[in-house]
């Protein structure tokens, strides 16, 4: 489908993400392996989707493509109505950065907190590079919501795994993203902490209307989403 036909769609404004026939090929020993193989997906604003599937099914590759962290080999992608990638258009790395910082918040399996910064400094780290109009002027609100308000002067080494992930969540939220991408956010946490993080994502979606895409191995965690997509061999299975 071309850029023009997508732009012509009357329901564009409702969608946070619109992927059509996304394909990502990796070359391995002269052979082209499709990591994502013709995925079409429309994510409505305020939707909570979990993506599940076995290892190597293309979950992370798909979320990287949807989150503008990687370029697709073919297909098209629109993010909040703006064409990021299509047969006739491909944004530059700088333009992708602009989209990323305006639209997305990311949470990963590893927390990537800066060890020499305090909890508060880690949370407001994105402000050093970019402060979106309408960003949270008081990061304490989000810290309080995440139960970290008493830990703001602590360093990451003084926190538990669950607390560190909550700091990473707070950091992803300070610039008020429209879409939160969480790639195995509970991969390093025990069951209790996983449920806790799941609950936070759920309430962010319900309370703030945040669009959430959650990649997980954990079926229980996937169950909290409004819609679950299963990937197998780079294709949507169910």
């Amino acid at each position: 489908m071309t850029d023009q036909t997508m732009a012509g769609s009357a329901t564009n404004k409702e969608f946070a993400l619109e992927a059509k026939d996304l394909r990502k090929l990796y070359k391995r020993g002269g052979e082209e392996i499709p990591a994502v193989d013709g995925v079409s997906l429309a994510v409505k604003k305020g939707e909570f989707i979990s993506i599940i599937g076995p290892s190597g099914s293309g979950k992370t590759t798909l979320i990287n493509l949807l989150g503008c962290l990687d370029n697709a080999t073919s297909g098209s992608l629109k993010v909040v109505g703006e064409t990021i990638f299509s047969a006739s258009k491909c944004l530059s790395e700088s333009d992708l950065t602009r989209i990323r910082r305006r639209v997305f918040g990311y949470i990963f399996q590893k927390f990537y907190l800066v060890p020499t910064l305090t909890v508060l400094e880690n949370v407001i780290l994105p402000f050093a590079f970019f402060k979106k109009a309408g960003a949270r002027t008081n990061p304490m609100e989000i810290l309080r919501f995440l139960g970290l308000d008493r830990r703001i002067h602590h360093r990451p080494s003084e926190l538990s795994g669950g607390e560190m992930q909550r700091v990473a969540i707070a950091r992803s939220l300070v610039n008020k993203p429209e879409i939160l991408l969480a790639d195995e956010p509970t991969g390093n946490l025990d069951t209790k902490r996983s449920i806790e993080i799941g609950g936070i994502l759920k309430s962010l979606n319900e309370r703030d209307g945040l669009t959430v895409l959650l990649v997980t191995h954990n079926p229980a965690l996937a169950g909290i989403a409004g819609r679950t997509i299963e990937l197998r061999d780079g294709k949507i299975f169910a």
């Binding site: 990537y112 050093a128 970019f130």
Partner: protein, 400 residues
């Protein structure tokens, strides 16, 4: 309410605190090269000014001696005074005829072997000076005790600070000239001047001529040139006098400076190597820390940092290292300037009196500027490398 501002500079500074030992060692390397650099520049400045001061303190700019090698007078004196070359005293009036000449003072160097000096004897040297012209030319000389001679023909001596200590003489003591069996009365002891005068025994010219039977003869005439006159022109005119050698102290200075320049090239080469090594140290430290933080840099980029933001952050880390290391080295150089002086003195064949290493504020600023420039240059590659990290690289390693 908690402060909710953070800058790239704060992050850069705190990044350096992650591996404190590594940052400290790199800083010490930079500090060491800053110390070497400022000390050498200080030496470059200090040596020349100390030499100029030494020469200016001689009180005259041109020395006229009897014909021969210009350095012969000193050499012969050290050999025992035999063979010193003499000129007629009348040359003074010929010299004074030139309008460029402001003052002239005749000198007669006499030396004699003293069997009681040291363990196996030594040379005692006496400098006959004219009481009417010499003190005026050496106006900077100050007395610790007593004063100049009472009479142009008096059997008296004024002793330099070190000579007085060596001979253990005070005003009122007698000084025996060996072989001649003449005793001189010490009428003055000079304060330390930091020049060759400290080791000299001054005696009225007429008395030296009489004691050593050199009436009407002198070994040298020191000329103070008029401020507005051209020294080179005067030198050429003086060569017209029969059987004289003209030594311009400016020439002596140039000769000594050119001898020292070889040593300077050597030490500057060492400084250059030190700087290069510290630069490589900085590049290595920052590059390793960039590689260690590859994923973290990727995450920062996913937060919205532009390549230039990351470049600036890493560049700032390098500059902070260099700034702190440089300040450390410069501070250290101020503290140990005296030791550096002694160290350089032991390396060079001839050193003037006075401070050899002059380290001041402007030199410190210059060194800091050089060190920061080194930081900026060293930081370019690691910063560029970091700015090129793609966000995806940070998560790819996590698997699918």
């Amino acid at each position: 309410m908690a402060e909710n501002k953070i800058s790239i500079y704060q992050i850069a500074y705190k990044n350096l605190l992650r591996k404190k030992t590594r940052s400290l060692l790199t800083m010490l390397g930079i500090g060491l090269s800053a110390w070497v650099l400022i000390s050498l520049m200080g030496f470059n400045k200090g040596y020349e000014s100390a030499l100029s001061k030494d020469i200016d303190n001689m009180g005259f700019q041109v020395l006229v001696t009897a014909k021969g090698c210009p350095y012969e007078a000193a050499t012969l004196m050290l050999k025992g005074g035999t063979g010193l070359r003499y000129m007629q005293e009348a040359v003074i009036s010929d010299i004074l005829k030139h309008e460029e000449v402001e003052k002239v003072t005749p000198q007669l160097m006499a030396a004699i072997f003293d069997p009681n000096r040291g363990e196996s004897g030594g040379i005692n040297a006496y400098l006959g000076v004219d009481p009417s012209t010499f003190p005026a030319m050496k106006s900077y000389l100050e007395f610790k005790q007593g004063g100049w001679f009472t009479d142009p023909n008096a059997m008296e001596a004024v002793v330099g600070y070190e000579a007085a200590e060596l001979e253990q003489r005070e005003v009122g003591d007698m000084l025996l000239i060996p072989e001649k069996n003449v005793e001189l009365k010490v009428v003055g002891v000079l304060k330390r001047s930091g020049t060759a005068d400290d080791g000299t025994i001054f005696v009225p010219l007429r008395s030296v001529q009489k004691i050593f039977e050199k009436e009407g003869l002198i070994t040298a005439a020191g000329i103070k040139v008029d401020k507005n006159a051209n020294i080179n022109e005067l030198e050429n005119k003086l060569y017209d006098l029969p059987d004289v050698q003209v030594v311009s102290l400016a020439q002596v200075k140039t000769t000594i400076m050119s001898l020292v320049s070889t040593a300077k090239v050597m030490v500057f080469s060492i400084a250059l190597i030190a700087i290069l090594i510290s630069m490589l140290g900085v590049i290595n430290t920052i590059l390793v820390s960039v590689y260690e933080r590859f994923q973290e840099i990727g995450i920062i980029k996913s937060m919205g940092a532009m390549p230039w933001d990351v470049f600036r952050m890493i560049w700032t880390e390098t500059v902070i290292l260099c700034l702190l290391g440089g300040s450390l080295g410069i501070g250290f150089s101020f503290l140990v300037a005296k030791i550096t002086d002694v160290l350089i003195r032991s390396l060079l064949p001839y050193t003037p009196t006075g401070s050899l290493v002059i380290i001041n504020g402007s030199l410190a600023l210059l060194t800091l500027g050089v060190v920061i420039a080194i930081g900026l240059v060293s930081g370019v590659y690691p910063a560029w490398r970091a700015s090129r990290v793609r966000p995806l690289e940070s998560i790819r390693s996590e698997g699918d």
